[in-house]
Every structure is written in C-alpha cells, then in structure tokens.
Symmetry: C2
Subunit: 189 residues, 2 copies
C-alpha cells in the first residue's frame, strides 16, 4: 500500500483502504439485519461460526487489534510485540446482544477507529515503520492497514459462504455452477 | 427448499430465500457505491470480471433468467427447455451506465421480480414442478428458486475476492491468515 493516489489498476492506496473499511458496517447491516434468525444463527458445522458470531469477531478486532496495533508500531516499533489476537474473544461481545445491537456496535467502533486513523495524520514515511507480530515477526504499518481491509473482505467472503451453506442440497444439479458452494474456506474458520 | 417454515437449522424455506434475495441490492449498494473507481473497475486478470461487471451480470439475470425460467416451468413443464443464459449478456447492460445507475437498476428489477414471485402465489405442490435446463436436464422450481439466492451469494463471494485481489502483496506475511486471498474462485469466473 502506498500513501498517495496509486495509478488505476496499481497498488491500492490509503484512500482505497479507508473507503473499503468505511463501507463494511453498512454492507453487513444491509445484508444481515432483519433476516430470519435461522439464517444468521446457522453455522457451517462443528467449530465454525455463524454470521452473528462473525460480526462479534469483527467488533472484537475493532477493540483490540487494528488501531491498538498501529499505535504500538508508532510508539514502540519492533521493540514490543503485539498482544496475540484472541480469536475466542468474540464470546465477550455477544452476551445478551441481538444481531441488530452488534451491527450498531460494529458501525460505531469502526467509525471511531477511522477517526483515530485520520488523527494519526500519517506521513508517507510512516507506512514503512516496522512492528513485531507475535507469530509472523516483522511487519510494517502499511501491511497492517492493508490487512485490516482484507480481513473485512475475508469475513464478507465467509458470510456469503455461511448463508449459502444450507442450500447445498436444495440447488440440485446447479451446485456445479455455484462457486460459493465449492468453497471450503481456505483458512480457519 | 420447502414451502413453509422449516425448523431452525433445517432446510431453508421460501421465506428465507425471499429474505436473502431482497437484501442483495442494498448490500451491494452499501459495499460499492462511492468507492474509488479503481476499486470497482479492477478485475482479477484476463477473462475475469470487475465488481462493476458483476452488477451488470446480476441485472442481466433479473431480466432473462430467474422469473422468466420460473414461468416456463409453470407453463410448459419439461416440454420446453429454458433459453441458455448468456453470460456475455452483461455487455448490453453496461453501455453508458455508471455504477450508481447499475445498482439502482438492479434494485428496481429485483424488487419487481420479487413482486412477480409473490404474485405467482405458489402452492406447496408447485415447488416440485419440473422444468428442463438446456445443459443440466430436469430441474425443479424449488431448485431454481434456491439457485437464484445462492447465485447472489456466489457473486458476493466473488466481489469480496475481486476487491481483495490488489492487496495480495500489500498485506505481507498476513496473507496466510486471509482466506479470501487464497480463494481461486471455484468456478468461472
């Protein structure tokens, strides 16, 4: 990722990334709010998440992952590794909440975090600043911000698969034409 | 797919399917409208579609595929095969149009088609009625309606992949954790 405007078709720039990050809450709200609960509470089998749980996971990331890690890079560089991200942390986000409440919480936290990102007033030279991931080793601020957006897209990709999952048999012979039914996830979950 | 309410976790019913179909236009609008043009006009390489082209393809399906085929099943049964779907037909939908115009057109056509579906006033026994697909052979109305919804989800899955595509290098070592970057599409395109 580069700091300024990239050429069309080239590497994405910060403006593209912020634009994507800003749209995810609205897209998930439009997709999921008001669906029958059976659709949003179904998962893909043992040890997989429902759409509801994915939204809770995204909330947990907003609280503990992206902006907190960006601040660690800027403040400590490689000298302090990030806290490992708790993939089970979503359990604390869901207690007593409806899907509508989670969608609103995600939208609010994302908006606040994009305000924080702007307030960091990053300069072109900041994008190459290095931090330390507890498992992956040295990473840059630029890689962290790109990953934030692609993490959203990974979960949108996952939610489309979760929602399609109960239709595996129902589509009959069309199954072969429907890529989302062939997807086994590429990563866990 | 069954006609009435299925048990939670069971096979999806018509209500679930109509709910999903009704949400796709809003979800794509929230995701794509106003993104930098570079994001929505990029594709994944030769002979692949951009997000813009996927929306045009969905419009073409609304005009020529789902409801027209449902009517052929109800009127002609297996005696008349569907017209083959023209995967290149999207070219006729995009001429001179902006992405915003395509998103509005898709929303309008989808809404009209869901009105038509309701007006068909399908009875439980109608879901098993059989038609003839030009390549797949005998299919049922139930399979056709399920496929309509999963076709949307296949393209939402594809769009999340298209939007992530330019970030393949930018995410650095996080690539291994980001399932959408491992996805090669499962079907064409």
């Amino acid at each position: 990722m580069v700091a300024g405007n990239g050429p069309d078709g080239g590497e994405p720039d910060l403006e593209d990334t912020v634009a994507l990050l800003g749209r995810t809450p609205g897209a998930l709200d439009a997709l999921l709010r008001g669906l029958p609960e059976a659709c949003t509470s179904r998962n893909e089998g043992e040890n997989t998440w429902s759409a509801f749980e994915v939204v809770a996971h995204l909330i947990h990331g907003e609280r503990t992952d992206w902006i907190p890690r960006a601040k660690i890079v800027l403040q400590f560089g490689e000298s302090r590794a990030f806290e490992p991200f708790d993939r089970e942390g979503l359990a604390r986000e869901v207690e007593g909440k409806s899907l509508g409440q989670l969608l609103e919480e995600f939208a609010r936290l994302r908006s606040e975090n994009l305000d924080e990102l702007r307030a960091l007033n990053l300069k072109p030279e900041d994008f190459g600043r290095r931090g330390r991931h507890p498992a992956l080793g040295v990473v840059t601020l630029s890689q962290l911000l790109a990953t934030w957006a692609v993490h959203d897209l990974t979960h949108l990709h996952q939610i489309s698969r979760i929602l399609a999952h109960p239709y595996r048999e129902a589509v009959g012979p069309w199954s072969a034409y429907l890529g989302v039914l062939q997807c086994e996830g590429h990563s866990s979950p």
